[in-house]
């Protein structure tokens, strides 16, 4: 088992890993670097066990660590056992092994790249960007984007970061700040528009063909995404050079999709959540169905046992059991959709409707200070996203001023629907209970609870914020069967599983 590494590369790897032992034999120093990496993964929240760690050590003996893609694949296969963790792994990998990228990537290649980018980057030391004006840069970007030339794009991304990000050593701002500055200057949307214009000029899109136009636009979007990622990587690379690997890895830790906070999700995280919901509900439904099937043995059915015993000459050889009919609960969802908690309501409604097969009936209401039933939207549309859109545009939820008034909404709900609440009904109330100092009317909940099977309150705020300011969640809480903190998909999933099981 010889290591397919040259010592110079290893030294690079070692230096970048910021390990102190420089005298060890090559394999052991590489192992040191690996240890640091595993440590970093654990710090980022990935569960890496001892065996997996050992596997990774054995694994890197078999590959050429100069081949970066394979090296990463091999570490990933041994250390990361859940695909949600892959993104976090990639980030840590990129940061941790980025300084030695010149040692790990093909050196000739890197040099060539350096030389080529010289023309663009040369004036860096001399202050202003001398020969390349922003317009020229934009023009070059446009050409590279249209040609789909990744290498050129990488060089230009680097030049753009030079020029627009205004990075200063030791400045304590996050990478997102630099990213924002660079992208604002690059004006991606403008670029997209110009790309479309160019494509039209060159006759790549036939006149009046929306399909071709759509495909072309998506191609452009994909390339712009690539550019964005390149810029991001470039900024990250420079930050690492400035602050050191470990400091950077710490600031880059991103929460896993199921841990993303509903109330503070960025646009990208929102899309990630959207995508995560459906598979999650399917998995949950499958699991619940399985569990229900397995526990379908009930009490001894005496009459049936005696009847069956006749065929054994009166010996009750084959005991018969009653199969309890699985009683699916009926759900009423009452959701606050005022600005602060809108996304939470959206995800919860989506989740509950995706789980509809697990309930005998689902009805839903949305409110701000007025309340409106929206069940019909979900029944009519077979697509949840469309239903949500209709809820947004058609539901009548404003009564006076469009500020949340839980008291009034609950009163109206009681007046209209109290008689429809039965002992089979579970009521889910969604909201942060920030009532703008209106009257709470929490006795309404008391009435509802007397008739319903269960009344739950889901609050998307962290527990520490409850009952601060105008939040009166515990005033409602005393008349609920449970008040749950529900900030992310993981908590939501756990709650819904609990409701289905009764």
């Amino acid at each position: 088992m010889t290591l397919n590494v040259n010592p110079a590369k290893l030294r690079d790897a070692l230096a970048a890993g910021e390990r102190e032992s420089t005298k060890g034999s090559p394999p052991s120093s590489l192992l040191d670097v690996l240890q640091g990496f595993v440590h970093e993964l654990r710090a980022a929240g990935l569960p890496v066990s001892m065996t997996e760690n050992l596997d990774a050590m054995r694994a890197i003996e078999h590959v050429d660590i100069a081949d970066r893609a394979t090296f990463r694949a091999v570490l990933g296969a041994t250390l990361v056992k859940h695909h949600h963790h892959w993104r976090a792994f990639e980030t840590v990998f990129e940061v941790y092994f980025s300084l030695h990228s010149s040692g790990i990537e093909d050196e000739a290649d890197v040099e060539a790249e350096g030389a080529a980018s010289e023309s663009v980057r040369a004036p860096q030391g001399g202050g202003a960007m001398g020969d390349v004006s922003p317009e020229e840069l934009a023009e070059m970007l446009l050409a590279a984007l249209l040609a789909g030339d990744t290498d050129e794009l990488r060089r230009l991304a680097s030049a753009a970061v030079d020029r627009f990000a205004g990075m200063e050593p030791g400045r304590p701002v996050g990478g997102t700040y630099y990213l924002y500055r660079t992208l604002r200057q690059l004006d991606l949307e403008g670029l997209a528009a110009r790309m479309m214009g160019r494509a039209r000029e060159q006759g790549e899109i036939p006149e009046g063909d929306p399909l071709a136009e759509r495909l072309e636009r998506e191609e452009h979007e994909a390339r712009l995404r690539e550019l964005r990622e390149l810029v991001e990587a470039e900024i990250r690379r420079r930050l690492v050079a400035d602050r050191g690997t470990e400091a950077m890895a710490r600031t880059l830790r991103k929460p896993l999709p199921e841990d993303v906070d509903f109330m503070h999700a960025s646009r990208e995280e929102m899309l990630g959540l959207q995508r995560a919901i459906y598979p999650l509900t399917r998995a949950l439904a499958a699991r619940l169905a399985q569990r229900r099937r397995r526990r379908n043995r009930g009490h001894l059915d005496f009459r049936s046992t005696v009847r069956h015993s006749l065929s054994y000459g009166g010996v009750p050889a084959e005991p018969q059991f009653r199969h309890p009919r699985p009683s699916k609960p009926e759900i009423m969802v009452v959701a606050d959709i005022s600005g602060s908690v809108a996304s939470f309501a959206r995800f919860t409604l989506q989740f509950v409707y995706a789980m509809a097969s697990q309930f005998s009936k689902v009805r839903s209401w949305v409110f701000i200070d007025g309340i409106d039933e929206v069940t019909r939207f979900f029944q009519e549309a077979d697509d949840i996203a469309e239903a949500i859109l209709r809820v947004n545009t058609e539901a009548d939820v404003v009564w006076v001023d469009g500020h949340s008034d839980y008291g009034h909404a609950l009163e109206v709900f009681r007046d209209r629907h109290l008689m429809e609440v039965t002992p089979k009904t579970s009521i889910m109330l969604l909201g942060d209970a920030r009532n703008n100092y209106h009257a709470s009317q929490n006795t309404v909940l008391k009435e509802l609870r007397q008739r319903a099977r269960r009344v739950y309150w889901l609050n998307p705020e962290p527990r520490g914020y409850w009952d601060t300011g105008d939040s009166i969640v515990s005033e409602y809480g005393i008349y609920c069967d449970g008040v749950y903190e529900c900030r992310n998909l993981r908590q939501l999933e756990r709650f819904v599983a609990g409701v289905v099981e009764g």
Binding site: D55, H62, V63, T78, D383, V397
Partner: protein, 307 residues
């Protein structure tokens, strides 16, 4: 040590020869599985070629594929081994005349000729090269997973009446999972992990060209682009690679050299299997978006409305 592959590149080339296009990630893990003699757990959405990977490796190495299809309720006697009790009964009955001692009979009927091998034991006792495929492992209950652990970590099976049977060689073992539930830590720890996702545009185009050789390059590119476009919609089930290939074949059979909205409309049901998905894709791609609204960027935060 079984060294089936010389290098990662050899894996890529080899798989390409049997019409499977592996990326660096897939090839790296397969290569490692061979060197470390560890099973590979492949996860990913349905229809991205997880099972095909096992088949292709078997093709490539000239090995026999032994497949264990998992389902709810799978047990020892279906996965590992079972005593052939009818044969045992016959043996006991035929012994009446010879009056052999009980100890003799017992040691006789609990010996290998009376053992029915099931896939796992078969893979272990095989002397020819085999690839063991444990398909859709997420379908068995979490308790049943324990059955697999001994096989996966030590490649042996303990039979109380016979002792431990261990293999003479280590086959490549591939487990696939559609991720309908979280597999146990114990199982994951024993495996290398590989997540296969939908391919990017270039790879998908190449796959179409390799699997449907009669197709011309331009149509293949269009196919890949339309499929990517459909995958970006919010669907219940995005089209898989196998569905892309089916679609490309369909277009060929219908003699369509070019994709137009009408052609997509006629053949959408090959790509999508839910009525609501088909309706949605039809609305977006075939009928075109309503004038004045941007398409494909329906992100929550872009909306001015409340939810």
């Amino acid at each position: 040590m079984a060294e089936r592959f010389e290098s990662v590149d050899a894996v890529i080339d080899g798989l390409r020869k049997v019409d499977y296009l592996a990326d660096a990630n897939i090839a790296g893990v397969v290569y490692l599985a061979d060197r470390l003699e560890k099973p590979v757990l492949v996860e990913g959405p349905a229809g991205v070629g997880k099972t095909q990977l096992a088949k292709s490796i078997a093709d490539l190495t000239g090995a026999r594929l032994i497949r264990l299809q998992c389902y709810e309720g799978l047990d020892e006697s279906k996965a590992l081994y079972e005593w052939n009790y009818k044969k045992q009964l016959l043996r006991i009955q035929s012994d009446r005349e010879h009056e052999a001692s009980w100890a003799e009979v017992e040691s006789d009927i609990f010996s290998e000729p009376f053992l029915l091998t099931r896939p796992l034991l078969e893979a272990i006792s095989a002397t020819d090269p085999v690839v063991l495929l444990i398909d859709e492992v997420d379908r068995i209950e979490i308790e049943t997973e324990a059955l697999l652990l001994e096989v996966l970590s030590d490649f042996q099976v303990s039979i109380p009446e016979l002792g431990t049977i261990s293999g003479e060689q280590r086959p490549i073992v591939i487990l696939t999972s559609n991720n309908t539930r979280e597999l146990s830590e114990a199982l994951k720890r024993r495996c290398l992990y590989l997540h296969v996702d939908y391919p990017d545009l270039e790879r998908e185009e190449e796959i179409v060209r390799v699997r449907v050789p009669e197709i011309d390059a331009e149509l293949a590119e269009q196919v890949a682009r339309v499929v990517r476009s459909i995958r970006q919609l919010e669907l219940k089930k995005a089209p898989s690679i196998s569905e892309t290939i089916d679609w490309a074949r369909t277009l060929l059979y219908l003699g369509r050299a070019e994709i137009s909205p009408e052609v997509i409309g006629e053949t959408l049901h090959v790509l999508l299997k839910y009525q609501s998905d088909i309706a949605r894709a039809r609305k977006e791609l075939v009928e075109g978006p309503p004038a004045g609204t941007p398409v494909g960027t329906g992100s929550p935060s872009a909306r001015t409305t409340r939810l």
